[in-house]
């Protein structure tokens, strides 16, 4: 399966999904005009990947500095999908990475964590220098 790589823009994050390594990364700011439309290829890729993957451990790294309210709905949708996959036997860990001084990003991670039941969701603090 091909990897998915989307370069960052001012309002959308860098996305790199590597099927071979089982490593999914999203990094940057997210406030595109239409978040559902922007992330739709990401969901397509992930759906196909989750269908094909068997016992590979999947690592999801998110480092979102800021996201708007419509991206927030999309991320919850994404996490729900991963949560369901874990209930169906997939091995998935999500690391929600945030910089020490970005308490908004930490709070957002905590809020997502409370929504999820099965998937392992870690809050990972990144220390400057």
């Amino acid at each position: 399966m091909d990897n998915l790589v989307v370069e960052a823009t001012k309002s959308s994050p860098y996305i790199s999904f590597d099927a071979g390594k089982g490593l999914l990364e999203i990094k940057g700011k997210s406030y595109p005009e239409n978040a559902a439309k922007f992330y739709s290829p990401v969901f397509d890729w992930l759906n196909e990947y989750l269908d094909t993957v068997t016992d590979q451990a999947i690592q999801v790294n998110l480092e979102i500095i800021y996201f708007n309210s419509s991206s927030s709905k999309v991320f919850l949708n994404l996490f729900d999908m991963l949560d369901r996959a874990v209930k169906n036997g997939k091995k998935i860990t999500i690391d929600w990475r945030y910089h020490t001084e970005n308490d908004t990003a930490r709070e957002c991670g905590e809020e997502f964590m409370e929504e999820l039941e099965a998937v392992k969701f870690n809050l990972v603090e990144i220390h400057e220098e």
Partner: protein, 183 residues
């Protein structure tokens, strides 16, 4: 006829206005001003915890105008392309950032918007956080990806004081909505 720009500039500066945008808004405008606003706050040594509150309010207000303002120009061809207009101000006064926005709305939408905002004004941070999660979950179950509901809650919970707003009737079709958010 010409506007005295020095006078306008001085007045904005005196009010602590950092940015003022008025006219047709688009995603490019949101991104351009947004990136510059972020850079400016960083250059001035603004704490990340404050940037993390000012920026979301700015984006939600701008994107509200881009998607919902009743003042719009629609393409004459089939593309459906359109541009909506409004005004957004970011300022700093008495130790707080503030973000203000104004745009025309349809009279038919006044009642719902007013009641939503009145409800939000009565809630404390904890209640707003709970409502945010509830509405986000509801949007998920309904498969709803658009709508300004979650954005309003996001602004209310990022603010340090209740959202202030006025809705001024203009004619039989439209009213002018303005809102001020103090961070």
């Amino acid at each position: 006829m010409s506007l005295d720009l020095l006078d306008l500039y001085n007045r904005l500066e005196k009010e602590g206005i950092v940015f003022c945008f008025c006219g047709s808004a688009s995603q490019s405008v949101v991104e351009g001003i947004g990136a510059t606003l972020w850079q400016r706050m960083e250059l001035q040594g603004t704490q990340m915890s404050i940037i993390g509150r000012v920026f979301p309010v700015f984006v939600e207000q701008m994107q509200n105008i881009v998607s919902h303002s009743a003042d719009r120009i629609v393409s004459k061809d089939e593309s459906g392309e359109e541009l909506r207009s409004g005004i957004v101000i970011v300022g700093y006064a008495y130790g707080h950032f503030f973000v203000q926005c104004g745009n025309f709305i349809e009279n038919a939408d006044v009642e719902l918007l007013e009641s939503k905002l009145q409800d939000l004004r009565k809630m404390d941070r904890k209640e707003l956080n709970a409502l945010y999660r509830e509405e986000r979950r509801k949007a998920q179950d309904l498969g709803k990806t658009k709508g300004a509901g979650l954005g309003l809650i996001e602004m209310a919970r990022k603010a340090s004081e209740p959202l202030e707003f006025t809705i001024t009737p203009v004619d039989e079709h439209r009213s002018f909505f303005s809102m001020s958010t103090i961070i």
